[in-house]
Symmetry: C2
Subunit: 257 residues, 2 copies
Amino acid sequence: MIKGVLLDLSGVLYVGDRALPGALAAVDKLERSGLPVRFVTNSSRSTRSMILEKLTRMGFAIPPEHIYTAPMAVRRYLREHDLRPFLIIHPQLEAEFADFHRQDPNVVVLGDAGPAFEYESLNTAFRLLLKGAPLLSVGDNRYFMDHDGLSLDVGPFMAGLEYAAGTRALVLGKPAAEFFHGALAEIGCRPDEAVMIGDDAASDVLGALRAGLRGVLVRTGKYRPGDEQMIAAQGVVAEDIGAAVEWICQKKRQAPE
Amino acid sequence: MIKGVLLDLSGVLYVGDRALPGALAAVDKLERSGLPVRFVTNSSRSTRSMILEKLTRMGFAIPPEHIYTAPMAVRRYLREHDLRPFLIIHPQLEAEFADFHRQDPNVVVLGDAGPAFEYESLNTAFRLLLKGAPLLSVGDNRYFMDHDGLSLDVGPFMAGLEYAAGTRALVLGKPAAEFFHGALAEIGCRPDEAVMIGDDAASDVLGALRAGLRGVLVRTGKYRPGDEQMIAAQGVVAEDIGAAVEWICQKKRQAPE
């Protein structure tokens, strides 16, 4: 019985700047299915409004409130704990954090900063960690599928700082159970009635399974042969977003109502 | 019975560009003691001749052949295995590797690259690792004591790439047993007759203990209170290089000859 759907964006709906084959039709079908949907992403190379613009440009019709991002979860955490962040984030994400006090920082925040991962800023972060500042990260993803191939995501830099300072990061995006549950709370859906679709076997699918959801791994985006082994028998594997939505709609039809 | 001495350089003899108090006299005493000596360093921010120049400028009188560096061990490894390196190293170390073929690289080499740790080069390295290239590192050091405080060493970037590509680096400098044994081979000394002095509890002292040497931890350089706990009862703790050399000379006098 499936009553709500979470989906990853990059690698599931598109790669680089191009919609994946069948993705437009699949999203359309899903949004018309009556099932509540949230697009959940650790993507932190752009703001939510930039993500929306990009989706619209590619032809997806997704309401803004259906998008739930890890940077949004970070914002909420910083506000709740009244923290002053030292940010290592992508230049395009700076606007999302423009309203935070940043002098005398007392927490390190890592996003998928791309070219902003530089020695000097990482070293400043390291020194703050040594002084006891906690380390927050939008995710622990190892890599993502960029337009020219697999590329380093935030995870390796998080792991490096953890190793340097002998500390552990608090991950606020996927695969944290709190993140999945936060998205489900918005659509009023229990974990055992929800399914998560993603191309990252560890962060999307294993994370969802551990948070009590079902998980579907798609063989697009960053998927690499053998990734199925990570999700064992609990997860479902689908060729792409089209096949995953087809499977969900069948499950929905099978459900006794 | 001590018949040979290995010493770390940065943080033991000097910090930044300044000799530590008592270090000049201690090195002088050690070099006159008759004990064979090697200065063993993972330092990879400069070539051996630059290290020598710096030592001379600070007043140390150390013969070139007494210095044994991790980049020298890397050079030897690359030659022996006929490898074409993709180098992420400090700009000042480039000269040391100028004679290697670097087109179509089939191995990734990490040094303490400092500002040369950039997203683009790390991403290129990551893609080579995914294609099966091995990962070599001059060390796994977490940090070193720079003139303005503790700073990130090569280890965190090594750990990040290991995490990203799901691989393990081959460390050719300290704490690899082979590195200590290579230095001891030069002075014809067995591990159980040798002692290593360092400010890095993990890389210098634990590494030496595991390689069968004795180990002395000095409370200078990157030493932080509590580091003693890492080396347990096996290692010796000395206030600084002066006290460590004093201890060694006593041990030497006590030895039955």
